[in-house]
């Protein structure tokens, strides 16, 4: 690949579209010179709900605010605006919700440009064929992917690499919105397309995907990165933040199993031998990263319906109850089972979970402190059942059992629990779980990711 001597300059506005950023930081970044504006749109981090339900992680209002500023800056400076994992989970509804915001801003501002949307949702036949051909790989901790898991899944996305982004830019797109993408892929695509090597290009993407998170103090803000032939220089555009060798080195720890080995579509970025040199007190130059090409795989993510949830929140301030809490909670489970059976709901027809905050609500079974005797304990009572009506009905039984069940030594005969809300019960709707988390080997990095163009 021809080595380009001109650095590729890219600006990331924040960690996720819709988190917000100071407008002045965008302006300062644009004033420095920028070849691409981008932002990551999401991840699996907020859990399976968004992939399963098709809902966006951030509000349309918050995404529109960020998009409008970024789109106006991109069109004014005639540089591409590129967004991966649109709408939080990167499925088709998330992508379309983001595209609709872009169309609406364009119409309002009278902006004319070419929009590319890149789909990441996969049809079940494609995945089943890959299973049959032995092209599926396990990922640590992930479930086995079989045809039944595919059928149970509400939605399956594949995580694209840089190639579809590069293709969309080659196709003349001014704005690229992609479904599920490897977080660094949009940036890696831009830098490699400008002639830079994969290693610094991917490294730049690893940093840019989180906005100013590699800087200190942390905050949702803009990061400016220059990729040259063998190094990356990064600097936050807000003067209150700075990148230091230590802050940048430590960002490699973020949400990765390893700080050194980063598996990506088509290869592995190795940061073991990185050097971090301060350019000044706000900018850092990183060199020494390497890229080793591997057979091309993409990650698959899917979510399936796990039931419907209803919850209630309450607390006790009664030391006599707290002393006997384990027995009390066991008696609640028994009472609910009996009462539910009377409504025709058998014990395997619902899941009752009572979380005890102040005791082990945060760490659950992993909590090492077993003898804590707090003066009050908060509870989240939760029922998950195959339909909302059953979840509502069983939760109501659990709530009243928590309130009125007797326990040895009880003096608080009017009620065991303080409920802060009326109504006390909250129907939460469908609950999803990750059902697919595997790799799929592919021959053509573009094939699973169709690109649609529209001229606005």
């Amino acid at each position: 690949m021809a080595k380009n001597q001109m650095p590729c300059r890219m600006l990331s506005t924040s960690g996720i579209l819709g988190y917000g950023f100071p407008e002045a930081s965008l302006d300062a970044g644009m004033a420095r010179g920028v070849d691409m504006i981008g932002v990551d749109g999401g991840s699996t981090d907020p859990g399976p709900h968004y992939l399963g339900s098709g809902k966006t992680l951030n509000s349309a209002r918050a995404m529109r605010r960020d998009l409008a500023l970024m789109l106006r800056a991109a069109r004014k400076h005639k540089v591409p605006l590129v967004i991966g994992t649109s709408g939080g989970a990167g499925g088709t509804p998330h992508l379309q919700a983001t595209a609709e915001l872009i169309r609406s801003i364009a119409a309002e501002d009278g902006l004319r440009f070419r929009l590319a949307t890149i789909e990441a949702e996969q049809d079940t036949a494609t995945i089943k064929t890959a299973i049959a051909k032995g092209r599926i790989g396990r990922l640590t901790g992930g479930p086995v992917l079989d045809a039944a898991a595919v059928d149970r899944s509400q939605r399956i996305v594949a995580m694209m690499g840089p190639e579809p982004f590069a293709a969309a830019l080659d196709g003349g797109a001014d704005v690229v919105l992609a479904g599920r993408s490897s977080d660094p892929a949009p940036w890696a695509a831009m830098a490699m397309r400008a002639g830079h090597s994969p290693a610094p290009s991917w490294y730049a993407g690893k940093m840019l995907e989180c906005g100013a998170t590699p800087a200190i103090p942390k905050g949702h803000d803009c990061l400016h990165v220059e990729v040259s032939s063998d190094a990356v220089v990064m600097e936050p555009t807000n003067p209150i933040r700075r990148c230091t060798p230590s802050s940048v080195a430590n960002h490699s720890l973020h949400e990765n199993p390893s700080p050194c080995i980063h598996v990506e579509p088509g290869g592995v970025l190795d940061t073991t031998d990185c050097r971090f040199d301060a350019v000044n007190d706000r900018a850092v130059r990183i060199s020494g990263m390497t890229w080793e090409p591997h057979p091309y795989t993409v990650k698959l993510e899917g979510a399936e319906l796990a039931g419907y949830r209803t919850i209630s929140v309450c607390g006790t301030r009664d030391p006599l109850l707290i002393e006997t809490l384990d027995d009390f909670l066991a008696s609640i489970h028994e009472a609910v089972a009996q009462k539910a059976a009377a409504l025709g709901v058998e014990p395997d027809g619902y899941t009752l979970i009572i979380r005890s905050y102040g005791r082990n609500g945060v760490m659950g079974a992993a909590e090492p402190i077993l003898d804590a005797r707090p003066h009050e304990i908060g509870f989240v009572i939760e029922v998950v059942a195959p339909d909302q009506d059953t979840a509502d009905a069983v939760l109501a039984l659990a709530r009243v059992s928590m309130l009125h069940t007797d326990f040895p030594g009880r003096l608080c005969r009017e009620g065991n629990m303080a409920f802060p809300y009326s109504p006390s019960d909250v129907s939460c709707g469908p609950v999803y779980r990750f059902s697919v988390f595997s790799t799929m080997a592919i021959d053509d990095p573009l094939a699973p990711f169709p690109i649609h163009y529209e001229d606005l």
Partner: protein
């Protein structure tokens, strides 16, 4: 002796994908990092004991470039699945804070 909570610059946990949890301990100075590393206390065995996982299931990486130790473990319950208590995995670090490291604090190290 010195507890992690008294000598570390950062001690945190986070998801590494929905099926793994990653723990990071970062120190301020090279001398402190080296002293902690030399004790061998931060190890797959320690993480296994604190988090009820087998040491062979702990991916343990000393990271001198960041003056950090990283340990990645399987999640007992996948992020957001029924019974999970921490969707982002960011409040599972507390057992590490109390770990005692058998070192004498150095004069130039932060307290």
């Amino acid at each position: 002796m010195a507890r992690i909570r008294d000598i570390a610059k950062v001690c945190k946990s986070k998801n590494a994908g929905p099926f793994q949890l990653t723990l990071d301990v970062v120190f301020e100075t090279r001398s402190l990092y080296d002293a902690v590393a030399a004790t061998g206390v931060l190890s797959p065995e320690l993480i296994g004991r604190l988090y009820n996982v087998a040491p062979e299931d702990v991916l343990f990486t000393p990271y001198p470039a960041g003056l950090a130790f990283k340990a990645t473990i399987p999640r007992a319950i996948p992020a957001g699945d029924l019974g999970d208590s921490d969707v982002y995995g960011c409040q599972q670090h507390a057992p590490l804070l109390e770990v005692d490291i058998p070192i004498n604090r150095l004069a130039d190290d932060p307290v």
